[in-house]
Amino acid sequence: MENFFTLTGVAIFALMLPILYRIIVGPTAIDRIVAVNMIGTKTMVLLIIIGMLFKRVDMFVDFALTYALLNFIGSLAAARFFDRVNPEKQIAKLETKEQES
Amino acid sequence: MSPTNITSIIPVLACLASLLAVLPIVLLRSKPNFREGATFVAGFLKFGLVLSMLPTILDGTTISYTLWEIVPNLTIGFRVDGLGMLFALVASSLWIVTSLYSIGYMRGLKEHSQTRFYSFFAVSLSATIGVAFAANLFTLYLFYEMLSLATYPLVTHHQDKEARTGGRTYLTHLLTTSIGFVLPALIFVFVKTGSSMEFAGSGFLKGYIGETEALILLLLFTFGFAKSGLMPFHSWLPGAMVAPTPVSALLHAVAVVKVGVFCILRVYSGVFGLEFLKELDLGTIITWIAAFTIIVSSLIALSQDNLKRRLAFSTIGQLSYIILGMALLTPMGATGSMMHIAMHAFGKITLFFCAGAIFEATGKKKISQMVGIGKRMPITMIAFFIGSLSIVGIPLAGGFWSKFYLLYGTVQEGQYAMLAVLLTSSLLNAAYFFPIVFKAFFCKPEESQFEAKVEEAHPAAVAALSLTALVTVVFFFYPEPFYSLAEAAASQFISF
């Protein structure tokens, strides 16, 4: 079972690679942020897996929770950033364009 | 021969007398009469204290007092012996006279900041006496530095551009040499010997250092005490001529330059020991340096038109006499050089007083403008004449004796080259002094050179300069105290 968890972990790491690719290449900042958010989620899972490997999940759960929480705060902050730096909202513009096309 | 030693606080008091006088001087700044009264009281007190020790010293006893151990193994200590006594006597007596003179001078010219002037004057005197009575190299250095700094405000008293330049030259030279040369030498000595650097009659350095080190140390000390005006580091002296005349008098006759020379004498005798120097044959180098300075400075003096500058260069030469005398490393030479401290002091201060009096009365500084002045200011110019006699070394003035002993010393040692140097320089002295006197008395002034009324200077100034002139003459007839002091000191340096 331990091997299974290890392999799971390695697999998750492997899945981070494409996301990392998005982070490196990501044409815009917000793409990167999305990718970061995803990595955060994966990290949380990994934490639990590490806890499993240590056989001390009870200790690791706490900060997996913290992690999820703060990851959320991080992406929220980034979102707010865009909210603030673009004061004129573009939703309406987008919609009109949609209708035109 | 080890002189007996007594412990007494009198040297400290003598040193402090003028330092403490600063307080009343500053406090009484709004009442000029009381302020100067305080100066006088302190002056007489100091002189009295110094004089009170004279008999003891003449007995061959030294007085010492250890004030404070400031660095492990190093003390601030006072010790009075013949050489120190001689110097202290000259300095303290001349302070009184100078004070008298400066009252006349300052009031005559209505100078500003007189309180500051008197205060720093007093501080300088303290430092001078401190140097004279210093028991060890360290204390000597302390007071030496104190003197440099205390005289700076005096030199730059006028606070104008010229004063600024002069003061800058003054400090640059003195501090560079003292910090750059003396301090390392001092510490080197301390490190090498590990002793408290007390001056001993016959030096204490012997056995601690080798020949090369000794030579380097000797040069460091000799040039380091740049107050003595040895040639490469002499230029502060003419530069400092911007000071008010009483200060120049003090600088060039009593306190500063003599302190420099005194320090050198002290180091030669008390640190190296004349015998040690003789052993290593280091005296010759110094004599040649001194001889060079003597001749060159005399030649320069000839070409100066500004009276005070001429006097300054004369001083440079005369100081080197003293060094030369000591560097001869003979008892007679040493005696002569010590006596020359005193004799030159009285002579030169007279000359400066005269220069100041002329300036105060007429506003003239240049020699070429002084034609015929002797008729207007007879007392001054007679005093000037006496002073020049003393400097040149012609009988009827005290300078004769010191020069006599110096010459005797050279003959005794067989250094005929030095004899020639001394004689040549005497001739040169005569050549640059007597024309002034001659012109003053016997030439007709061009018209309109002086304003209508030219009279003698402020009575206090005149009194002072006549006093010193008189004393100079008196010393010719009665050089006894100085001679015996010098001889007592010299006998400690060199065992015959």
């Binding site: 009870d58 706490d62 929770l65 929480l69 703060l70 705060i73 929220l76 902050a77 950033f81 909210d83 | -």
Partner: protein
């Protein structure tokens, strides 16, 4: 530098030179001496409690420093007039989520503080999480809302109180005649064994740390986000 640093015998294996009596001692003795199973907490708050006190001070310093550097007071600095303040258009989804989250986050933060003895966590982490809950509010609504909850004066009070709690424990020990921060002496006051006194004092100390960290984290955020005006945030 990088070349040389390879030389020494590194080693993850369990017996390098670093299994000196110090770390060994910490591992074996903490529980008997302090009855705290989390060695990190025990070492942090007791053996090296002095370090931790100043760690808290570092945080406090940072908070004060940032106020000192950035904060702008006074009418002349009020470049942005009140009505021109940025008004965030309400976002229902984010707001509701945050509203539901905040109390639970705070409870969780307290849990982290309280269970520092038994599981990872402690005053600092709990404090950060608690502070994060305020930051979350400021992000979800705006800074004003969070400011209403913890205005600047209260931030300072909280932070100061935190350190006072910590130092107060130390000082109390000193007054009772023991060394600074020697909690064992507090059993006289608490009425428990010295070992438990240590354990309980550690909790007290952690609470102090949490106070400070909470306040300062939020303070730093609000200063940074509002560029010193404390008016409108990110």
């Amino acid at each position: 530098m990088s070349a040389v640093s390879d030389f020494p015998d590194w080693g993850d294996p369990h017996s390098p030179a670093n299994s000196y009596r110090l770390s060994q001692g910490y591992i074996t003795d903490t529980f008997p001496q302090t009855s705290v199973p989390n060695m990190v907490t025990a070492v942090l708050a007791d053996y090296r409690g002095y370090d931790t006190m100043f760690e808290t001070v570092v945080i406090f310093t940072a908070g004060i420093a940032i106020i000192g550097i950035l904060r702008r007071y006074g009418p002349k600095d009020k470049v942005i007039p009140e009505q021109k303040l940025y008004k965030k258009e309400p976002d229902l989804i984010v707001e509701t989520t945050c509203r539901l989250m905040i109390p639970i986050i705070q409870l969780f933060a307290l849990y982290v503080v309280a269970h520092g003895h038994h599981s990872p966590g402690g005053g600092f982490q709990g404090g950060v999480i608690f502070g994060a809950s305020f930051i979350l509010l400021a992000l979800a609504r705006d800074l004003q809302a969070a400011q209403k909850w913890v205005p600047e004066s209260r931030i300072l009070k909280l932070a100061g109180t935190g350190i006072f709690i910590y130092a107060g424990f130390g000082f109390l020990c000193l007054l009772l005649g023991s060394n600074f921060l020697d909690y064992a002496i507090l059993h006289k006051v608490m009425g428990v064994t010295p070992i438990e006194a240590r354990s309980h004092s550690m909790l007290g100390v952690e609470i102090g740390v949490a106070f400070t960290v909470t306040a300062i984290m939020f303070s730093i955020y609000s200063n940074l986000a509002s560029n010193g005006y404390m008016k409108e945030g990110l």
